[in-house]
């Protein structure tokens, strides 16, 4: 389990990191360019992919992302990517498919690292403004902004519920009990968050919300 709430990425980039001054559109473009380059390179050409990964790691260190965090998240990512990549040769009885597995692994890692770099140089709210400028419908951006705002509130609520559960069960319960317990926790979170959304909606109406999104930069 990743302690998401304490994750520095979730809190946004360090204000002093050099990439922070990049324009969000440029950062988005660079990130897309890195992924595109990874897809254009031949899947099995090790040096070129290694070079791209090194460039991305250098960019991450320039953006002052803690190395330990990158390593930890990369390890989690690699676990899943390896499992899938190996399943291609595995399904062939290990007679072929290694090239495809290699391509999947390299490109996956490159895309993952460039995504990490993007969020570590552009704060999420500025990314949302950029998406809006690029023509994403306002209602989608508004839902995204709303979701981003309440994500951390709900995580905190979930942490509280988890702490209460640990206090009661000491994590020593049987498998079936724990499944039921986890599902009930999500169900409780669902009921509470729908109630919360009603209250927030009421508060928004009281402040003149009529369904149109207005932002400060307009």
């Amino acid at each position: 389990m990743i302690p998401v709430v304490n994750d520095s990425l979730a809190r946004g980039p360090a204000a002093r990191s050099p990439g922070y001054r990049l324009s969000p559109t440029l950062a988005l473009g660079l990130s897309v360019a890195a992924i595109t380059l990874g897809m254009l390179l031949p899947p099995t050409h090790l040096p070129s992919h290694a070079a791209l990964v090194c460039v991305l790691l250098a960019a991450l260190s320039l953006a002052r992302v803690p190395f330990g965090m990158v390593a930890r998240r990369l390890a989690i990512f690699l676990g899943f990517a390896l499992l899938f990549a190996v399943s291609v040769p595995l399904s062939q009885g290990f007679r072929g498919g290694w090239e495809i597995a290699q391509g999947i692994l390299f490109r996956g890692v490159e895309s993952f690292l460039s995504g990490l770099w993007l969020v570590s140089v552009v704060p999420f709210d500025r990314l949302l403004a950029t998406l809006r400028r690029l023509g994403v419908p306002t209602i989608l951006v508004a839902i995204l902004a709303f979701m981003y705002r309440f994500l951390f509130v709900l995580w905190k609520e979930l942490d509280t519920m988890r702490a209460a559960r640990r206090a009661r069960t000491f994590d020593q319960a049987g498998l079936i009990f724990r499944w039921r317990n986890s599902a009930q926790m999500i169900g409780m979170l669902l009921i509470r968050s729908l109630g919360r959304s009603e209250r927030v909606y009421g508060a928004m109406c009281a402040r003149g919300w009529d369904g149109t999104v207005r932002t400060l930069d307009e």
Binding site: M1, L9, S31, I35, G38, M39, F77, A81, F84, S87, V88, S91, Q92, G93, R95, G96, G97, I100, I104, R107, G108, S111, F112, G115, V119, F124, L127, P137, I139, L140, I143, A145, F146, M147, Y148, F150, L151, L154, W155, E157, L158, Q172, W179, S182, A183, Q184, M185, I186, G187, L189, L190, I191, S193, L194, S197, V200, Y201, C205, W209, G211
Partner: protein, 326 residues
């Protein structure tokens, strides 16, 4: 479940992206008719709830624990269109905030989890519910059926995309089809159990959220034709998933040729343990499709066993638990 960049070719990414954009656009269009000022807080909050709910672990005795996917749940709470938007938002935030899932494959992920999960899932639930007199039982059974079907259908669709992404004859697609579908049948069982447990808990506490006239899904119901079509597509994908190993032995001559030409020299490699399964009399001819499925299941189980052994070896929790018992 997330498709990373590198799995699919640019053409397939473009096609899936276009379909996903059309589906999301249609969802926005449908929601504009109804109560549009309510959509932002309700959908945004449900999306945040599903994201948070995905952080809750469901231990399966392995280092990787299961978690909720949530497409069917979102469809049942919000209705097909807002549910589709909510899951789309979850995927977008996962991509842009946590680098989870590819950028070019975002369309494919939206198609698999938001479109099939929420729109297809809602359609299946609402059809299954009609067969039960007690609405609560109908909702629970519907959530089980829809969760399993949508997960398997998504994996079948992924295999189709994967196949279109690589030149014919690059490797045997039947096998990866069988492996993927076998794994996702198991994942589907987990998702069905989790969704049903959540739904039955909500039904016990606040039945109006799922059944009542005040529930959000009642506002944005789906037309009968659309419902049958959406459910039909999901079911067809599932049937295709389980029939494909049988079917392709009969009509896919191209793969056979490429196999004979491309892999003939590799047959006697050291890895030929699984390679010669079709020489066993029972598994030859028309039974080959079945044998592919069996090989897939055996492969899945062996991967799971390996992961279990690995997990037991490195898990710090088991040591703590043992120390506690002493």
């Amino acid at each position: 479940m997330h498709v990373q960049d590198g799995f699919l070719s640019p053409e397939v990414c473009a096609a899936t992206g276009a379909i996903a954009a059309a589906a999301v656009g249609y969802s926005v269009y449908k929601l504009r008719d109804g109560v549009s000022d309510r959509v932002v807080p309700l959908t945004g909050m449900t999306a945040a709830m599903i994201f948070a709910g995905q952080m809750v672990n469901f231990p399966i005795g392995l280092p990787v624990s299961g978690h909720l996917i949530g497409g069917v749940l979102a469809g049942m709470i919000l209705g097909p269109w807002a549910g589709c938007l909510a899951v789309t938002m979850v995927l977008v935030v996962q991509r842009f905030l946590f680098s989870d899932g590819g950028l070019f494959t975002l369309g494919a992920n939206i198609l698999h989890m938001a479109v099939i999960g929420s729109i297809g899932g809602y359609a299946i639930v609402s059809i299954v519910r009609r067969f039960f007199k007690k609405p609560k039982v109908g909702a629970i059974v519907g959530s089980v059926v829809a969760s399993w079907l949508t997960v398997v259908a998504a994996s079948a669709l992924f295999c189709l995309e994967f196949r279109l992404s690589h030149p014919a004859g690059a490797f045997e697609f039947r096998n990866i089809f069988a492996l993927m579908v076998a794994i996702h049948s198991l994942i589907g069982v987990g998702e069905a159990l989790i969704t049903a447990a959540i739904v039955s808990f909500v039904l016990a506490q606040r039945p109006d959220l799922i059944l009542g006239q005040t529930s959000a899904s009642a506002d944005t119901a789906m037309a009968g034709v659309g419902r049958v079509t959406a459910a039909g597509i999901v079911v067809a994908l599932c049937i295709g998933a389980f029939l494909s190993p049988f079917k392709s032995t009969l009509d896919d001559g191209l793969e056979h040729v490429s196999e004979v030409q491309g892999f003939a020299e590799l047959r006697h490699s050291a890895w030929a343990f699984f390679a010669d399964y079709d020489k066993i009399p029972l598994f030859s001819g028309q039974w080959q499709g079945l044998s592919v499925s069996v090989a897939g299941v055996v492969g899945t189980l062996s991967v799971l066993l390996l992961a279990l052994a690995f997990g037991r070896a490195v898990s710090p929790r088991s040591k703590v638990a043992e120390a506690g018992r002493e």
